[in-house]
């Protein structure tokens, strides 16, 4: 499991726009870099990030090797109701990780 950091407010007023910050530890190996033996290190990147709010997709990013290592993304969403935000990262070599964070909307 890669270390994932997710930052969003625990509580929000209904209809408020909240900012979500995410970061996951991943080398994002580009496939263009030579290793110790002089051969290219094969590509190993996260290709997609999805954030869904109570099952509904609210944000998605398609990443390429031009993303920096430990992909960092911040975005916003409207706090509609109390529920769960699910964050999923998928990538090369079968990489897949899902995290869930709850939010209370009052």
């Amino acid at each position: 499991m890669a270390r994932a950091l997710i930052n969003l407010p625990k509580t929000a007023k209904a209809g408020a726009v909240i900012e979500i910050k995410t970061l996951i530890s991943h080398p994002m190996e580009t496939g263009y870099r030579p290793g110790q033996d002089g051969r290219l290190i094969p590509r190993n990147i996260i290709t997609e990030f999805v954030c869904s709010y109570d099952g509904e997709e609210v944000f998605r990013a398609e990443l390429s090797p031009a993303s920096a290592a430990n992909p960092y993304l911040t975005f916003t969403t409207v706090a509609t109701k109390t529920g769960t935000l699910r964050f999923t990262w998928t990538g090369d070599n079968g990489f897949s990780q899902t995290e869930e964070v709850g939010i209370t909307v009052g």
Binding site: R33, P34, L63, A66, S67, Y72, T74, T76, T77
Partner: protein, 162 residues
């Protein structure tokens, strides 16, 4: 003083200096309307065409914030904002970012919707060389808007060994 070029032509020092001064002027006089899309290489143009489907791209409504001078191309902060009410009827569908010097032209594609509330995204990217970054936003009404930002990179990413 003359310098003998490989093809045997004699280049005068004054000519070379004048040429250098010309280049310098070009480098210093950057167009004020930096939002005009001007990707130089074919792969980037093709990637943009694939994203827009050949639609016209207008300058404006999108803002790119990137440091103009980058010491380490391995991690460059990039902030994108789009002027949009993000309502049910008028919102940003997609934002794509392209470069013109990395091995691949595509940087990131972001899918948004009315649930986003605001069109403001931050991320960190790699730059393999000093270059121009182009961001294009697709609105719900099918129009495309773009902005560009230039960065001078001291330490290149991607191709450096470990």
């Amino acid at each position: 003083m003359t310098i003998r070029a490989t093809n045997g032509a004699r280049l005068h020092r004054r000519t070379i200096l004048a040429g250098g001064a010309g280049l310098l002027t070009v480098a210093l006089v950057r167009p004020g309307a930096a939002a005009i899309i001007r990707p130089s290489r074919e792969a980037t143009v093709e990637a943009i065409r694939r994203f827009t489907g050949g639609a016209t791209v207008q300058a404006g409504r999108i803002h790119l914030d990137m440091p103009p001078l980058v010491e380490n191309g391995n991690t460059v902060p990039l902030a994108i904002t789009v002027e949009s009410p993000m309502s049910e009827t008028d919102f940003v569908r997609r934002i794509a970012v392209f470069n013109d010097k990395n091995p691949q032209p595509h940087v990131v594609t972001l899918h948004l919707g009315p649930r986003a509330g605001r069109a403001a995204i931050n991320t960190r990217i790699r730059l393999a060389d000093s270059q121009t970054i182009t961001a294009i936003a697709e609105m719900r009404d099918g129009t495309f808007w773009s902005a560009t930002a230039d960065a001078i990179v001291t330490l290149a990413a991607c191709v450096e060994g470990s």
